[in-house]
Subunit: 329 residues, 2 copies
């Protein structure tokens, strides 16, 4: 059985998405389908489709058969970005104007809706006995992603978020979709139910690690590598693992200093970012977060090692995860 390399899968996914995006530009009404095509052409890491295909490839090498499932999850992921960007007023996405900025809010709402349904239509193109089960898993995952986004919005007006509340939020908002990718890939490859469940768990841990890395890099990453300014989350009062831990570790003095910065306006942005990073440094928030990320990656690797599969079959996935662990942007 052929084991596809990461780069091979990436180019299969990118080609498939490019072809479908081009087809979309000829579909009517244009104002519905153009934003869909625009958002898919923006690029991105294609992490979710690649995870799905890699998981499938541990059980089958008939990759073309499940390319629609891989595209489907990317369309779904982009649907969430379209709507989240409206809700969060995030005007820039992947160094380009967000869909609602380029096409207007109404079109971003409606094209997002269309993408949600398109992700079902594309998923259903997979010829598989397991497709009904996969579609049901997709539905429950999508509902959980909505729940996660709601918790994230709830947290905006909230200072005392516990670590476990925060982790539950990112589990729903980010991790379950990675779990879905790995589990659905295995299901489509006709893997045993137990292996499917273990891969789901692996995806959850990977998703938690991934989101905590995002949190960490936004404050401690390299401006150059990220291609964006450091401290965005701090400037925007975004609740992150770093902030949650800082509040947990801080004494009353630092707590009130932090709260002060969180209620300050945009005018003292540079000063605020510097001050909050100083607090993080004092409280060792960086190493606490790094340790937590390491903890989840350890879970990921041990789950991977424990899979009752030939090591040849897991080597690509292991390589991908190692790459994710090292990521600097």
């Amino acid at each position: 059985m052929k084991q596809y390399m990461i780069k091979e899968l990436q180019s299969l996914v990118n080609n498939e998405i490019a072809n479908r995006s081009s087809a979309l530009t000829t579909m009517k009404p244009a104002m519905l389908y153009e934003p869909v095509s625009y958002s898919l052409k923006m690029g991105g890491k294609r992490l979710r489709p690649i995870l799905l295909l890699m998981s499938y490839n541990m059980f089958s090498d008939n990759i073309n058969q499940v390319l629609p499932a891989a595209v489907s999850v990317e369309v779904f992921h982009n649907f969430t970005l379209l709507h989240d960007d409206i809700m969060d007023k995030s005007e820039i996405r992947r160094n380009a104007p967000a869909v609602f900025v380029k096409f207007g809010e109404n079109n971003a709402i409606l094209s997002g809706d269309a993408m949600a349904f398109l992700s079902y239509r594309i998923l259903n193109e997979c010829l598989s006995d397991r497709i009904s089960d996969v579609i049901n898993l997709f539905t429950s995952t999508a509902i959980e992603v909505c729940e996660g986004q709601q918790y994230d919005m709830d947290f905006e007006d909230c200072l005392d978020i516990s670590e476990s509340d925060y982790l539950e939020m990112i589990r729903l908002k980010t991790a379950v979709l990675l779990g879905y990718c790995l589990k659905s890939g295995a299901m489509l490859g006709n893997a045993d139910a137990e292996i499917c469940d273990r891969l789901f768990l692996l995806g959850i841990n990977l998703g938690l690690a991934f989101q905590l890395q995002d949190d960490l890099l936004d404050t401690y990453g390299s401006q150059e590598l990220l291609g964006k300014k450091i401290g965005n989350d701090i400037a925007g009062n975004k609740k992150t693992y770093l902030l949650v831990k800082a509040f947990e570790k801080a004494g009353e003095d630092i707590k009130s200093e932090l709260s002060g910065w969180l209620s300050s306006g945009r005018e003292k942005e540079e000063e605020k970012i510097k001050a909050v990073i100083d607090i993080y440094n004092k409280l060792s928030v960086k190493s606490i977060t790094e340790n937590k990320i390491q903890h989840y990656f350890n879970n990921v690797f041990s789950t991977l090692e424990d899979l009752p599969l030939d090591k040849n079959l897991t080597v690509q996935l292991k390589r991908l995860i190692s790459g994710m662990q090292e990521r600097k942007y």
Copy 2:
């Protein structure tokens, strides 16, 4: 085989929706599920679930088995209302504040998204061999409904809409969902493919008649019966069948008069409504629209008569449709 009366189906649907709405109020995060419950409790005619059950009841009387499908289509319909109301800035829905007014725009977007996925989850509760086919039909219908809403928005900035463009818009926005109800009900009742398709066609004609009635009643209905002001569409420059036909029939003078009113602001609203109705009257737009509605109802009844089914089985659906034909609000 028991033939359910309209009222019986209505109360089954209302009970089922009431139970599910109550369950939703205990689900977390509350800000995600409260708007869903609010929107379902607002009421409405429940036309779509009743059509689905009636169609099913021509082939089976095990109504409880398909109640989830009936609820699912109502959840989907309400999802479209949540998002359409944001896009159209319609602040009042069924004499109450629209969801985006009551809960904010972000929550209306996100709860709407959740409803889209909930409609899949609920639909999938139906135990039926045909459920996969029904889900696929649901997906393609949902995409068409998005297309219809996009055409409706495109028409906002457009004066020269042809009759056929307008009819295609309402076919997508309104009629295909009624077609879906009748076809999916029949599919779940294990009807032959040909009967399913004929019922779909019946639903399309019914949906076109239904939307044209809406257009007509907004201008020529009774304020009292409608529970809302006459002339809303005219005041809001909404493209309707009446307006499309008026532009088609008008000479150059009346055309420019109409265009003038369409570009006037809200300050002369009463005068505008009166003037546009005068133009409609001059051009016999009312009877033209009535004839078109009659045409579609004729199609509906002849499709119904031609169904290769015992007349006992179609009597309730015929009664429902006759009631719709007489509706004054």
